[in-house]
Amino acid sequence: MKLQEIIEKLSLKALTNLEDKDVSGVFISDMLSDVMSSAQAGNIWLTVQTHKNIVSAANLIDISAVLVTYDKKVPDDTIELANRFHVIILSSPLSSFQLASKLVEAGIK
């Protein structure tokens, strides 16, 4: 599924520049080490983490987009780094559970 389609269906806010990307699967964790061990390339990653190190973890695994839940404020240095390294950061006021349900409804597997 196209990232743009997900952004529209779930009314997500883009905090960084956007790119045309495909999304396959959802990954939920607030630990960078979980991303390193268990996330899959192409996943949309739901987290409350906003430290700039999320950019390093997302790029290592080729995550399609980081989706920050509960509208957590993402620091400017994280956004700057994400733009520079082509990592997409999105945000939503909803919880991981609510977002995961909506992603399943939208047809993400």
Binding site: G42, N53, S56, A57, N59, D62, H86
Partner: protein, 180 residues
């Protein structure tokens, strides 16, 4: 299966969670890092021979090995403390130069770190680093980007390197009590 003919397909195995502990000796100012499986790393200063270690940071992380799913070859990564993405903090650093060259083709540069002190711990070999790079590239789906992993030995000046290891600082970690 013959190893020579195997085009290895790596998978991560033996994933274990623990803490990366960073300690500093106030007497000689040496920094030591190690991986601990203990739930409660030492929070108090302790003496070890001539050193007086104080815990500086405790961050959650993982250690793991890689196994080829075709030929069952296992590569152990016990000496890997973590990976760091180069963000180009120092213009004169060789890794920054490499990063600037490769970012045009969307190849992200990561640095593999062993444990400190570098001279006292077995550091990760270049062969293991290239297998790690192969593993993370195999895990990527899109051919639009790649990663390159280099050794921390390439860092020009470690004291002025601002990038951080991928680890979970402050997440369920045990911080030493604030000193008044």
């Amino acid at each position: 299966m013959q190893e020579k003919t195997c085009s290895h397909l790596w998978e991560m195995i033996n994933v274990q969670s623990g803490f990366i502990i960073t300690e500093n000796c106030f007497r000689c100012n040496k920094t030591s890092t190690y991986f601990s499986f203990e739930e409660r790393p030492p929070l108090e200063e302790y003496r070890d021979g001539e050193h007086f270690w104080n815990i500086m940071e405790s961050a959650q992380s993982i250690r793991f090995d890689l196994k080829c799913s075709n030929c069952d070859k296992i590569i152990q990564y016990g000496e890997l403390a973590g990976l760091m993405m180069c963000t180009g903090c120092d213009e004169k650093c060789e890794i920054t130069k490499l990063m600037k060259k490769l970012e045009k083709e969307r190849t992200w540069v990561y640095v593999a770190f062993g444990f400190f002190p570098v001279t006292e711990r077995k550091q990760i070999s270049t062969e293991k680093i290239s297998i790690l790079e192969e593993y993370f590239n195999q895990r990527r789906k899109s051919s639009r980007s790649k990663i390159k992993i280099v050794s921390s030995e390439m860092i020009g000046n470690i004291a002025t390197c601002y990038a951080e290891l991928i680890k979970d600082v402050g997440m369920l970690s045990l911080a030493p009590p604030e000193k008044e």
